[in-house]
Symmetry: C2
Subunit: 397 residues, 2 copies
């Protein structure tokens, strides 16, 4: 883990009074000291929040300087006034940091259908911009500024040398519920000092997201605000990254995205298990993802895991309704590495031993093997606990 | 309600020792005293149980005499031995009731992946067949014989006169979880003494199921055993029903299926609300169903309803990821008859009054109105409570 602000980046977060708990950061800014390539991947939800529309119009760009983030209110389903408030947030950052217009991207997360308290936002942005820092405390505070029901800030960084130049890629993410992947999931900002072309950065981000942020789920509910941004400011120096260097950059970006993506269901609301669903032996990766997502979203599978119950029938039957054709007589399943169902038939297995391992480990592994081809996919989800229900039956009106 | 055995039908159920609680009925038989038209609609789950394969091969038929049902074990994911056990069940009924082979349909429900205790099944079938009756007690006992985690037996009947002939349509159903519609959902047997052609009966059943049993959900998990059977034995007399008579028959069958279908989420595991999701203003009914199902399956919508929280943002955002194109600026939403979101914008509404109505009523109504066309659909689901989680985290290994 080398999570740090890459060269030229700084950040900060403050409590502006959007969240009700005093001291909890709810306005954050990430700033690059020079123009950065800025690319994004956004929610596919038709009902998308104002900042999603705003950022989509601005990216890809080669002159992004800042990202402003507020938590507590999502600025979603807020009609024209929501769009105006969002543009105002970008203007306030431009004023406070001395930027041109169109250099600031906006992220919001929190309650849907409520207008932003723009006075609080304005004073928050001014206070936040006045104390930007590039130390570890500032980085963690910035990550806290994105949090809603998250219990921990989510940070991941990697150092890598490409073409003799030392680079860093560091990302922040948030998310604990309303997690159901469809292109991008939840908020994440990934920063790098690499010198990478906008087109290459965009492709690298889209590819990484499709196998990481797009392969997680807490409750299968695709948010209105999902956004993953990548800012690359080239401050590390060196020529534009190409060829084998670009492959190394893409691999490292993938690692950062994968780590951040996993950290979301690992911190899922009420969750007691991070569940990895691996599906092998499919005709295509898309089919493997579809089966993995169907298993990951089944409340019956998720409650069984909460109860440390190796209830393989629920897993196999969920695969069966995924809408992917396969031969059910060729299906095998492993739970936590132990074979429980072999080529379409129940087998004797030590249910007590598996149950014990499920109860004692924080991670549960489901490995489903079909016999249709050689494509595979991984999907991450949570178990479903009474605590998730309690949190979501009581959270806001 | 005129739930009774139609002319020529009888039934019974006994405790055969499949369920662990002494006295709980787990083997049931429905018998017609003459050959009946028998048609079915079955689960679309690729991983389907032995009795689904068995019944699918037998129907449509014009010579069905009996349906045998066991609860406690689903005979799903049981490989070749499961198929043999299923055929054996039909043979045992044929012996006990003096039928030809191929006159008995089989239904099973319960735990997946466990083999049937065929000695118990055999003695149960003999005991059950020895005491068939056509009184109300026998009818209710037969319905109890299908139950798993259901808290009440599910029965619905209608009397109707067609072409001067008095007819009855009465159905039994079971189901409280693993309810996620895909063609047919859960077990139901509908009996009628109407004289109706196999082709007409099959079409009438398919049409009714698609808007009733196929529009309910408890947890979105399509079962391996879902089956709805219709038996029509013509014992009421009269000529084959056609034309306007057939329309009346279809309408009555629809009512019976709708009543039975609703009774399933109304008795959903841990549920405290039956939720009706109505979607209007769509281009096609299929699109309206897709949006309704997406809202109905969202854990965030379902937990909000459990908490009596008129959280319209969760409903609107669920519609947005259903995969159906629509203009989000034209969307309105009513909760329990009160407008909470109008043409893409939040409005002032009395949240406390709606919350109070949600807390005090056992039924919650969500009405989503789009502006794309004139098609509509209704979908029924449950809320999601901590009790559902408790039931399913602990149920069986």
């Amino acid at each position: 883990m080398s999570a740090r602000f890459p060269t030229g980046f700084s950040g900060n977060a403050v409590h502006a009074g959007i969240k009700q708990t005093a001291g909890k950061e709810d306005v954050a800014i990430v700033l690059s000291d020079r123009s950065a390539v800025g690319v994004g991947v956004y929610t596919q939800n038709l009902v998308c929040a104002a900042p999603v529309t705003f950022d989509r119009a601005l990216t890809p760009s080669e002159s992004i300087r800042a990202v402003v983030i507020n938590s507590g209110i999502a600025n979603a389903c807020t009609s024209d006034r929501g769009d105006e408030d969002c543009a105002k947030m970008a203007d306030l950052v431009a004023q406070a940091c001395g930027l041109d217009s169109n250099q600031t991207l906006v992220l919001s997360t929190g309650v849907i259908g409520v207008h932003l308290p723009m006075d609080n936002i304005a004073s928050g942005i001014r206070a936040c911009a006045a104390k930007l820092g590039s130390d570890d405390d500032s980085l963690e505070r910035t990550a806290r500024g994105m949090m809603t029901t998250d219990t921990v800030p989510k940070l991941c960084g990697r150092d890598i040398q490409i073409d003799g130049v030392d680079l860093n890629i560091t990302g922040l993410a948030k998310g604990a519920a309303m997690i159901g992947p469809n292109m991008a999931t939840m908020l994440s900002v990934v920063m790098t000092d690499a010198n990478v072309a906008a087109r290459d950065a965009h492709l690298a981000l889209k590819d990484a997201v499709s196998e990481t942020f797009n392969c997680i789920s807490v409750d299968g509910h695709t948010s209105t605000n999902d956004t993953v941004l990548l800012l690359a400011n080239g401050a590390a120096g060196g020529p534009m990254i190409e060829g084998r260097g670009l492959a190394a950059f893409r691999a490292t970006l993938f690692e950062v995205c994968e780590d951040l993506a996993q950290s979301i269901p690992a911190d899922g609301e009420g969750a007691t298990h991070l569940v990895t669903v691996e599906v092998h032996g499919c005709r295509t990766r898309a089919e493997a993802v579809k089966i993995g997502k169907t298993i990951a979203d089944s409340p019956l599978v998720k409650t069984a895991i909460a109860g440390a119950d190796p209830n393989w029938g629920r897993v196999v039957s969920a695969a069966g309704y995924a809408g992917v054709p396969f031969n059910p007589q060729a299906v095998s399943l492993h739970i936590n590495g132990m074979l429980v169902y072999e080529r379409g038939a129940p087998i004797d297995f030590d249910a007590e031993a598996i149950s014990k391992s499920m109860a004692s480990e924080k991670e549960t592994s489901l490995l489903l093997i079909l016999d249709e081809g050689s494509a595979a996919a991984r999907f991450w989800t949570t178990d479903l606990t009474a605590e998730y229900v309690r949190l979501n039956a009581d959270y806001t009106t």
